[in-house]
């Protein structure tokens, strides 16, 4: 202790203990968040590699780089890795894990050991999936539709299904921890209406994780049993019903897109008030819209099945409900925009990502309405229009939010500032690269190019080349933050406790925080986002 006092080094969660064991057996939510950060980054590269293969194959109309079978495996690998091993754990397991206990003023999540177990389950699932990839991969598409997956595919469907089954438990346990933490671990004075919107959004996400994930788990069990034992429950020639599989699958997998986007909205709801120095507009509406998205999101799944032969009447109902789920999302976009009105806006890196998010998510959301309307969907179903739509939501939305959040909280996580100039440049490159990659796909889809084909007629080539070129730019935009964030760990300026002069309990503790987050349990006396009383951050003051 004496030497510490002399050197002036303050104990924090990073230097509290050293050695590999102190990481692998930690129950500190902040360390577990970093374990997740490393592992999802690895999977992001695996999924990105598959995306690279897809885009290179589509550079030319002929199927020349990959065989048709290899192409099927490439897009399946891209979809499954990105959805189950990157997007679903991304913001919740990294930023949510790191921040939620601090935001509610707790020492840790409610169940720290379960939190660690969830990471181990994720790793076991990841190893199973990688094993499946290296022993031959799987070619069913990420959706596992029978009867192809259960009878005709000659690839490792069972292994992939089991890997994703296992990964589901990791997300259930994370969601369970968040829900209980928000209910039971709030500091004195932290009422529900004082919770940061980040927490509200993650609460909604957790409910979807808890109620949706078990359904995909049992669905995958049935697919595995059907394939292994040749049961016939999904085979129409034997009285089974393949559409039942689609119902069960989308009952989880549509709400799963809200598992991916809600945490990103959580991040944006923190960044926008901070960099416009204003209280968020309509706190209650933003908070409740998260819950509404979670609730209505469970009732729209059959819009994936409009052309699968479901009854017209149920299709009409699902179409209507799909339009309805756009309302709370729009409430959020309007409220963020209204927060900007007459604010003192600064264009720092996190804010650039937030702007990118708002624009791209709006495009992604509105094109979702094209797909939700019955007649239009018949034309553009299973075309590149759908691909472009959900990449605008999941990459333009979810990943933009993830990067914005990583920059916003990087000083808190690492104790170092990232280089602002490089940050802004990377945000710009990501935005340009993203639009160049995916906007042409809207046109391609509208012109009729179907998804999941490795060849296409020559008249589609120009747009495909644009898309591939955009993907290269996007890759640069993703690699840059990797490089300068790692650089900043050693050479970045030491971060002050509250570099953005942001509200929120996580900024009141030191950067990086001590193991138990706060020296004394904080007592909350004001609402979230009291920016009127906060001084401007130093850098902003200097710029003026």
């Amino acid at each position: 202790m004496a030497t510490l006092a002399v050197s002036g080094e303050r104990k924090n969660y990073l230097n509290a203990e050293y050695g590999i064991r102190s990481w692998l057996f930690t129950t500190d939510h902040k360390r577990i968040a970093l374990l997740y950060l490393l592992s999802i980054t690895a999977f992001f590269f695996i999924g990105g590699f598959a995306a690279l293969l897809i885009r290179l194959e589509l550079l030319t109309p002929a199927g020349d780089l990959l065989s048709a079978d290899a192409y099927n495996k490439a897009f399946t690998m891209h979809g499954q890795v990105m959805v189950f091993f990157f997007l679903i754990p991304s913001i919740p397991a990294v930023l949510g894990n790191f921040l939620i206990p601090m935001m509610v003023g707790a020492k840790d999540l409610a169940f720290p050991r379960i939190n660690l177990i969830s990471w181990y389950i994720y790793i076991i699932a990841g190893i199973l999936y990688i094993h499946c990839l290296v022993t031959g991969g799987v070619d069913t598409g990420w959706t596992f539709y029978p009867t192809f997956s259960t009878e005709f595919s000659n690839t490792k469907v069972i292994e992939a299904g089991l890997a994703i089954f296992v990964s589901g438990f990791s997300s259930i346990l994370t969601g369970l921890n968040f829900v209980v933490t928000v209910h039971r671990m709030r500091a004195p004075g932290m009422t529900w209406s004082r919770l940061p919107l980040f927490v509200w959004s993650h609460y909604a996400t957790s409910i979807i994780m808890l109620l949706g994930t078990p359904v995909i788990a049992i669905t995958l069990v049935l697919v595995v049993l059907e394939r292994a034992l040749n049961l016939g429950i999904f085979d129409p020639t034997r009285g089974g019903d393949p559409v039942l599989f689609q119902h069960l699958f989308w009952f989880y997998s549509h709400p799963a897109v809200y598992i991916m986007i809600l945490p990103s909205m959580a991040v944006i709801s923190e960044i926008v008030p901070c960099f416009s120095r204003k209280r968020v507009f309509g706190y209650n509406f933003v908070a409740m819209s998260s819950i509404a998205i979670a609730a209505i999101g469970f009732l729209v799944w059959a819009h994936h099945m409009f052309v699968a032969g479901i009854s017209l009447y149920s299709a009409i109902v699902f179409s209507f409900l799909s339009f309805l789920v756009a309302v709370p999302s729009a409430v959020k976009v309007f409220n963020w925009t209204a927060t900007l009105y007459k604010g003192s806006i600064s264009f720092s890196t996190p804010m650039l990502y937030a702007f990118g998010f708002i624009g791209l998510f709006t495009i992604g959301g509105l094109t979702g309405l094209f797909l939700a309307s019955l007649g239009t969907d018949v034309h553009i179903h299973d075309t590149y229009f759908v691909i472009a739509h959900f990449h605008y939501v999941m990459v333009g939305g979810a990943v933009m939010g993830y990067l914005g959040g990583m920059h916003f909280w990087w000083p808190k996580i690492s104790g170092r500032m990232y280089p602002e100039g490089w940050g802004r440049l990377a945000a710009l490159i990501v935005f340009i690269g993203f639009n160049l990659t995916f906007f042409p796909q809207f046109i391609l889809g509208y012109l009729g190019m179907p998804r999941r084909y490795w060849q296409y007629p020559p008249e589609y080539q120009v747009l495909n080349v644009l898309s591939t070129a955009g993907a290269t730019i996007l890759a640069v935009g993703y690699l840059l933050p990797m490089v300068y964030l790692l650089w900043s760990l050693r050479y970045g300026k030491p971060a002050p406790d509250n570099p953005w002069q942001a509200t929120g309990l996580e900024w009141q503790t030191s950067s990086p925080p001590p193991t138990f987050n706060f020296d004394e349990t904080p007592i909350v006396t004001q609402e979230a986002y009291e920016y009127e009383n906060m001084p401007l951050p130093e850098e902003v003051t200097l710029e003026r």
Binding site: P112, V180, L210, V221, L229, E520
Partner: protein, 258 residues
């Protein structure tokens, strides 16, 4: 100074060794654990819910075949097993009560009884499955419900509509293929549902072996017996799943065969 919340928190941590560092008091820890278990049981409902959903759809489509296959399950064994399981829930509840009263001997006795009931249930289920195996009622293992000793047709001719097509050999053969396929869906769901339930039972027995050991070591007091309580919640849940499974699988249409 002595009554500041921080000091009081520190005192409570000193006095209660079971209180983990990140909770302010025992009450908060107990509430968190029980809320966590309730939410987990919510996920379990969704897990079984997927299969119940499949069951209900196919039962509506193929009611006759489901009813005929259901009649092949042993009502006696099923009822007996239901009773065994209900008794095990009673002994769990009584062990919690014994912990509240601080009666360690009764607690351990009740927990041991729970284990006996739980293991009996699994054993009886195993005997039932074996019977299905000998009758060729397990899908893909020489599955045959048309002929042989496991024939579902015999006695169910009217229910299955065999009597209507008896004189037309082509239609009769088609009908028999249908019966073979549709009862296979019933048995697939039967084994998936009871199998998943049995896995939950086995996990439950594992948990209760630990709980019994803890009770034997005197770890539970009237003030602190949260692990016993939440393990009990899980046990009751698995019990309730069976309470639904039993009528859905065994009691589809048990009208006396005329």
């Amino acid at each position: 100074m002595s009554d500041s919340p921080i000091v009081m928190e520190h005192a409570e941590h000193e006095a209660r060794p079971e209180l983990r560092h990140h909770f302010a008091d025992v009450e908060q820890q107990r509430n968190a654990a029980s809320l966590g278990m309730w939410w987990f049981l919510g996920t379990e409902i969704m897990f079984f819910g997927g299969m119940f959903c499949a069951y209900l759809i196919y039962r509506r489509w193929y009611f006759e075949e489901f009813a005929a296959a259901s009649r092949s399950l042993s009502l006696g064994i099923g009822t007996f097993n239901t009773t065994v399981l209900i008794c095990s829930s009673l002994t769990v509840a009584m062990s919690v009560r014994a912990a509240q009263l601080g009666n360690r001997k009764l607690q351990v006795k009740m927990l041991l009884l729970t284990l006996v009931f739980g293991l009996s249930f699994i054993g009886i289920k195993g005997i039932e499955w074996h019977k299905k195996y000998t009758e060729h009622h397990i899908p893909t293992f020489d599955y045959n419900v048309i002929s042989g000793e496991g024939s579902l047709v015999k006695g169910n001719e009217h229910l299955l509509g065999i009597d209507k097509v008896e004189n037309d050999p082509v239609k009769l053969r088609e009908r028999k293929v249908e019966i073979q396929q549709h009862t296979k869906i019933f048995y697939s769901l039967y084994f998936a549902l009871t199998g998943m339930h049995a896995i939950h039972m086995i996990v439950g027995v594992g948990i209760f072996i630990c709980i019994t050991w803890m009770a034997h070591k005197g770890r539970f007091t009237p003030e602190y017996h949260t692990p016993l309580e939440i393990a009990g919640l899980y046990w009751h849940f698995v019990d309730i799943v069976w309470i639904y499974l039993f009528p859905l699988l065994y009691l589809i249409d048990r009208k006396p065969i005329s």
